[in-house]
């Protein structure tokens, strides 16, 4: 596992969490979009963030690999521990954080000028790794992991933009996996896809979690129920309730959670 800072990390929380959030707040200017969220993400699980539009789930997700550093006016407070190390610590390089905590976005966003092959290895090649045999190996492994290999193995040198939307999204997943991240953040990865492509990606998640810990934001409660082990429900920036997925869906403790999952709002 790659270190995100030079100094030796001192584990300070429970060992059983890949990501450990303590009182995380995210501000856009004066607006507080995420309020005092604390939660733990367990290794090799799929954690779903659910809640109505505007509840702050995407904002929270983007705070987990410092994507907010790139947004003007956005500010994160609190601590996000990755394997015991606060990713917001001053000694930590945000670029190194994003190398171990990858992200897949709502709309497929392959690099438009690159081939399928080059898209997969972009993270390696642009970081200076050029050995052909190594890259070939990574391309096949990542595309297999993303369940895309059989469909594209004969058109690796074709343009990535020639793939269908669902294939492009799996290509983006393969591209994220190629740099061997510990955590994969997924921001509504199927919302721009048709039901078939959605089903393929959902199947994929069950296999992927053996290699990488997944946090997924989804609008679709059935999806959360199908793919996740742990579910966190957010409302107006606050984390209302979290727990094992079957418990959240069958015996929610909070009335708000129950009203949301039974479709009363959102």
């Amino acid at each position: 596992m790659m270190r995100i800072a030079d100094e030796v990390a001192v584990p300070e929380a429970q060992v059983d969490a890949v990501l450990d959030l303590h009182d995380v707040n995210v501000f856009y200017g004066a607006t507080r979009a995420v309020k005092d969220v604390s939660m733990a993400v367990r290794p090799n699980t799929v954690t779903a963030l659910i809640g109505a539009s505007g509840c702050g789930k995407t904002t929270l997700l983007r705070s987990l690999n410092r994507m907010h550093d790139l947004t003007k006016g956005a500010r994160v407070e609190g601590r996000v521990l990755f394997e015991g190390q606060d990713i917001y610590d001053r000694s930590v390089d945000p670029v190194a954080v994003r190398r171990v905590i990858g992200m897949v976005f709502q709309k497929p966003n392959p690099f438009p000028t690159m081939t399928v092959y080059d898209n997969v290895v972009a993270g390696l090649k642009l970081a200076g790794r050029h050995r052909r045999s190594e890259l070939d190996e990574v391309v096949e492994r990542s595309l297999r992991q993303a369940a895309l290999w059989d469909e594209v193995k004969d058109r690796l040198n074709g343009p990535a933009t020639g793939l269908s939307g669902g294939q492009q999204q799996r290509l983006c997943i393969a591209r994220s996996l190629a740099v061997d991240p510990a955590v994969l953040l997924m921001d509504e990865p199927t919302s721009a896809l048709d039901p078939q492509a959605t089903a393929r990606i959902e199947e994929l998640l069950a296999q992927l979690k053996q290699a990488v810990t997944i946090v997924i934001v989804t609008h679709n409660m059935q999806q959360a129920g199908r793919v996740s082990d742990w579910t966190a429900f957010m409302h107006l920036g606050e984390l209302i309730e979290q727990g094992p997925t079957d418990q959240i869906f069958t015996r929610p403790q909070e009335e708000l959670t129950e009203r949301y999952i039974s479709g009363h709002f959102g």
């Binding site: 003007k72 972009a122 993270g123 642009l126 970081a127």
Partner: protein, 288 residues
């Protein structure tokens, strides 16, 4: 409203819409025709006056003395190309660099000022840029030279290249940049290897148009490159250029020189047209 009156109303409405449509189409076609007229007239005039002088000698020989037949403007064609190379080195490096800066670092405090000044630069007359190059380069060297001419053209190019680069870079979706950042790539790497290649065709188009724009400039060259009747490849000495040939020969009293001026104009116009058309053709094909 009864069904009958509705139908009647519909009919008169349709007539009015048809008329409005025909009228609007007519106005637009007319406007397009007016735009094209000067270009067609200029081309027809130049072809009529100049095409007779376009022979091999025109492209390979030096000018003949006034009154003698034959001769060419090979020195000015080469001179113009040389000036364009110098201009591009300056205009493209500074222009693209500045364009990338204003497009990719929108939060930087200098960006609004740089963008404003760059836009203001477009409005500055070309001859003033010539004056700047004169002060910067001709004065220290104590004589006219090609370098100063190239620099003046390069200065004119800069704001066009900045604007073109800025605009096409901002067309690259933010999600593509985010994908790069999410792979753990540093910002410069995302810009150089992902954003710039995505915007490359637009940047090159802008660069070609800027070159075409300055290729025909005569005013800033009058007191910088100055012109030369002979071969000169040394950028530190006066250098010939097509626009200067056109200027000098047009105001001369000799009919044979007038024809050379027309032929030179034709070459220049065709060069600019070809550059523009070729750029469009290449990138239209690539976009497909």
């Amino acid at each position: 409203m009864t069904v009958r009156s509705l139908a009647k109303h519909g009919r008169s409405n349709r007539l009015r819409r048809r008329f409005a449509d025909a009228f609007a189409t007519g106005v637009i076609v007319l406007a397009a025709a007016i735009v094209l007229t000067p270009l067609v007239l200029v081309l027809a005039y130049l072809i009529g006056r100049g095409v007779g002088s376009l022979d091999l000698a025109f492209f390979t020989q030096l000018p003949a003395p006034a009154g003698e037949p034959g001769g060419g403007v090979a020195h000015a064609i080469v001179g113009t190309l040389e000036l364009l190379v110098i201009a591009s080195v300056i205009g493209l490096t500074i222009g693209i660099g500045t364009g990338v800066f204003v497009a990719e670092y929108p939060a930087h405090p200098l960006v609004p000022t740089v963008r404003l000044l760059s836009d203001a630069l477009i409005g500055i007359p070309a001859i003033v840029m010539g004056l700047v190059a004169y002060a910067l380069i001709v004065v220290p060297f104590h004589h006219f030279n090609g370098l100063s001419g190239g620099v003046s053209l390069g200065l004119i190019m800069i704001p066009y290249v900045v604007r073109a680069t800025d605009e096409v870079m901002r067309l690259v979706p933010g999600t593509v940049r985010e994908a790069g950042f999410a792979l753990g790539l540093p910002r410069w790497r995302v810009i150089v290897s992902i954003v710039i290649p995505s915007a490359a065709s637009g940047i090159i188009t802008g660069a070609m148009l800027a070159m075409a724009r300055v290729a025909g400039e005569a005013a800033p060259l009058l007191f910088t490159a100055f012109g030369n009747q002979y071969w000169n490849f040394d950028p530190l000495k006066p250098i010939a250029a097509l626009p200067l040939v056109i200027y000098t020969y047009s105001i001369s009293p000799y009919d044979s020189w007038h024809r050379i001026a027309s032929a030179s104009s034709l070459v220049l116009v065709v060069f600019v047209l070809l550059t523009t058309a070729l750029t469009r053709f290449v990138f239209a094909r690539r976009a497909r």
